[in-house]
């Protein structure tokens, strides 16, 4: 059964929600029907000099309206091009890609750091259990109010301008929070710290990884991460982030 689709999609609307961070809603027919929290799409440039798709996590899925929302940071020329797209303009998108989050019915931490925050929003919508959102920012906040619709939000900022001064673990400790499962997406140092925290406290921990990709569908082996056990597909201790991931049980991967 085909679960991945190549679609020309049109931009419904786009806005800058923080410095260099954009929110773009796309009208899709096929991708939206299969998409779930934690998956990503490959977005292709309209400029022939930029060959590789940009993997961008799905922030929200609106099955009724047939739309997906991408929230991304300008990281180079490709994402800069996307940020200039206006309503009605077209983009080639392939997706949905990757495995997405495995949802558990347990008291949960949804933890996002920086540009790892957006995919947690769709997960917050889909998870029907007690949940606490812990969001880590450098300084400027974004999406915070949208998370508040789904539960209690705790904030950490590196400069202390909002919430706890420090990182997401500082916010968890300062507020004396506990949970039975962690879902997280963010920079590698944050994920590493959460893996350790989860191990120390015996908490199930799911993390969403990222790496530079080329094909986005598991063929080129560019975006691998080290795995604890030998992977069934690769036959070595490597897992494909785009295919077996991007979400892994923290104990399965080494980074």
């Amino acid at each position: 059964m085909q679960t991945k689709f190549e679609e020309m999609v049109s931009v419904i609307r786009q806005e800058e929600i923080a410095d260099d961070i954009y929110s773009m809603w796309l009208k899709t027919e096929q991708i939206v029907a299969y998409a779930k929290a934690g998956q990503f799409v490959s977005v292709y440039s309209n400029d022939g000099s930029r060959l590789l798709p940009r993997p961008i996590s799905i922030c929200e899925i609106d099955k009724e309206k047939g739309a997906i929302r991408l929230v991304y940071r300008i990281a180079g020329k490709g994402t800069a091009e996307f940020s200039g797209m206006r309503a009605g303009m077209q983009l080639k998108v392939v997706g949905p890609l990757g495995n997405g989050f495995t949802k558990k019915d347990k008291k949960a931490f949804l933890i996002g750091g920086g540009i790892g925050i957006p995919p947690m929003l769709q997960l917050a919508k889909e998870l029907d259990c007690e949940k606490q959102m812990v969001l880590g920012y450098r300084d400027e906040l974004f999406l915070t109010e949208e998370f508040e619709a789904f539960g209690k939000v705790y904030i950490a900022t590196e400069d202390g301008s909002a919430g706890t001064k420090g990182n997401v673990l500082d916010a968890i400790r300062e507020n004396g929070l506990t949970a039975d499962v962690i879902y997280a997406c963010g920079p590698a140092p944050m994920l590493r710290a959460l893996k350790e925290y989860a191990q120390e406290n015996g908490i199930e921990c799911w993390i969403s990884m990222e790496e530079r990709m080329a094909c986005g569908i598991g063929a080129c082996l560019a975006c691998v991460c080290k795995s604890k056990e030998k992977d069934a597909h690769s036959n070595v201790n490597n897992k494909r982030i785009c295919k077996e991931g991007p979400v892994f049980l923290a104990e399965e991967v080494e980074f």
Partner: protein
């Protein structure tokens, strides 16, 4: 209108194949492409044992191209025979297995293992720029090219294609050496060694520092090398290097390629291989070419 081509006694339904390393063993792309429509699938390089490949980042985009330093990660010949060949056998396309190794003995071991397998041809990768031993170490010296070709030919049950590196002063020297060693065909070009530096972090973008450059920016280099090689040898050539569309493929055929491989373009457009087959047919119709063989080396 005939699009069939003969490659060392193997008949391909059309000249379009996939370039090794960009298409896995076809399974992932089969969601986008009807593999039955391709002339052949060339699989990712396989060694005698599993290889872990290089650290990440393994890829970087550059203007009009990309760099890769995957390091020939592969599951080893046992799993390949058990899983990947049976997968491809479900389709009406030819199977060309790309073989890699660190030493002549390792290449030979894989070639021997494939002798009784239902594969149509072997492509020997002596040109990977991303592994320290083997790969390009064999491919840059005409003497070693000839020796390894001769050694592999002793054991190969299928026609042998030697895949050549463009990272040489004169590709016709290694091409002639492969022919002298008994190669049945040549494929060229592998990637051009490149480098990218992140000026903000003052670091190499690739963990391997260098990577192989591919994509449309290398296409003119590849066309030139295919043309030169076609003048220098009598065995068929599979042309590759930055083919993004049917026009690029036809250019390569006119330069002297009997068949073409499409690589990096798969990343830009997962359906591109099928589209190139259709585009070549449309070109033949437009110019009333009855047989694709009329186009091979037809540049004047």
């Amino acid at each position: 209108m005939n699009m069939k081509v003969d490659l060392c006694g193997v008949t391909l339904k059309n000249p379009v194949m996939t370039a090794s390393g960009t298409f896995g063993a076809g399974e992932e792309y089969s969601e986008f492409v009807d593999l039955n429509k391709l002339g052949a699938v060339v699989t990712k390089g396989v060694a005698n044992v599993p290889w872990e490949g290089n650290p990440t980042p393994r890829v970087a985009e550059v203007y009009g191209g990309m760099l890769n330093a995957i390091g020939l990660q592969n599951p080893g010949i046992d799993l390949f025979i058990e899983r990947d060949i049976p997968f491809l056998k479900q389709y009406d396309t030819k199977i060309i297995v790309n073989v890699c190794g660190h030493t002549t003995e390792e290449y030979v071991e894989v070639v021997k293992r494939l002798a009784d397998q239902p594969v149509d041809m072997l492509e020997i990768n002596i040109s990977c720029p991303n592994v320290k031993e083997g790969g390009i170490a064999f491919g840059q010296n005409p003497k070693t090219v000839e020796d390894i070709t001769r050694e592999i030919k002793k054991y190969a049950a299928q026609p042998v294609i030697m895949k050549l590196s463009p990272n040489v002063t004169d590709i016709t020297e290694t091409a002639r050496a492969a022919e002298a060693g008994g190669a049945d065909a040549l494929s060229l070009i592998n990637t051009l060694t490149g480098m990218k530096i992140d000026i903000n972090r003052r670091k190499f973008v690739l963990a391997n520092k260098t990577g192989g450059m591919s994509g449309p920016a290398v296409h003119p280099v590849a066309v030139r090398m295919v043309y030169q090689t076609a003048q220098a040898v009598d065995i068929p050539i599979i042309g590759m290097g930055g083919i993004m569309n049917a026009e690029d493929a036809i250019e390569m055929i006119l330069a002297g390629a009997t068949a073409v491989s499409v690589g990096t373009a798969n990343f830009t457009n997962p359906k591109v291989t099928e589209e190139i087959v259709e585009g070549i047919a449309a070109y033949m119709e437009k110019y009333q070419v009855n047989d694709i063989k009329e186009l091979v080396g037809a540049v004047v």
